[in-house]
Amino acid sequence: MSGSGEARATDRERIDLAAEFAQSGVGPVLQQLDDELVGLAPVKQRIREIAALLLVDRVRSKFGLGAQAPTLHMSFTGNPGTGKTTVAARMAEILHKLGYVRRGHLVAVTRDDLVGQYIGHTAPKTKEVLKKAMGGVLFIDEAYYLYRQENERDYGQESIEILLQVMENNRDDLVVILAGYADKMDRFFHSNPGFRSRVAHHIDFPDYADSDLMSIGEKMLASLNYTLSPEARLALGEYISLRRTQPLFANARSIRNALDRARLRQANRLFAAGDPELTLDALTTIEADDIRQSRVFRQPVTSA
């Protein structure tokens, strides 16, 4: 073991991990994550592990044990609307608070920000993005579009090579998060084994349960200063289970869209009623009717 002499000098000492935890300021970050994000158990678990490693590394360094910054590049896979982008934005903040990235800003890009239109255009474009992302988190949404199998002259490959190089050489400077739908990402990793090995954390975002979607909806409304009436809550519950069976269901995104439309209907209802004495209650409450007018309820029940 290296540095054993130094370690021996202090090996009688006890370090209080709990005190260390309280001092690091990680606790509130994790608590906030728990409070603000519904469901997503695997994601929270992984973040907790990363935070734990940081703490243990700090304590180890007090004993003179070397600690190398872990590789933190991640891949988020999951169905539409499972919170990949939301978590990525949060991740930048968390990693910053944990002290893994210096600035904690998020640079979100897609293929067209990285890949150029003609020969020699791609490398400067990709480098420009990487430059901006230094010290923060680079989030590549729908990363599988970078690689186009059907066109071997596609410039995406060039971008991938630069990315891989920077991911390897500047591990301390930036964290790259790739996101996309599970099956397409699998194919992407399969054709780019370099990526797979450089990404340390493959996190799968599970679909939300109905109850999760319900509380997500309530949180969304609460942040906009709306409340659901008890009947509306029931209606939303039904809406969620019905919507799930229909095509193009996008988890939390579907709920957000549904609630946006409910707000439109509520506004229209208030307007149509022409009540001269609107109460605050009326303005902030979404009624069952606002939700039940949705197309989802009118769809014939054909499929089993």
Binding site: R103, H105, K127, L130, K131, K132, A133, G135, N170, D173
Partner: protein
Amino acid sequence: MRITQGCFSFLPDLTDDQILTQVQYCLDHGWAVNLEFTDDPHPRNTYWEMWGLPMFDIPDAKGVLLELESCRKIYGDRYIRLSAFDSSHGWESVRISFIVNRPKNEEGFRLDRSEAQGRVQRYATRAYATDRPEGKRYE
């Protein structure tokens, strides 16, 4: 002859770590950091070639250092300087400028004297390097 100009010219060359700290200071103040290179280091030559565009939208100094590294890769045999421009009202000028790369052999300057009318003597300094064509001066 070791050429000195700009800030810190009385100090040994800054290490990359020190450059990083300086650049971060510039970025934190919202200055646009710019890289320039030349192989004509005459003190009156203020027009150095720009390496890319000034970097004003980068939050972290490491991004600038990436550019510096790629500039060194190609023009490592020339002088490279880093400057930061403050565009805020009332300043609108370069706030800091220092040399971040220099050729291995710096030949220095020759002092030319020429006689003019009467007893007037005129002086000119000329870099030995500029005797050779551009691009071959510090090979």
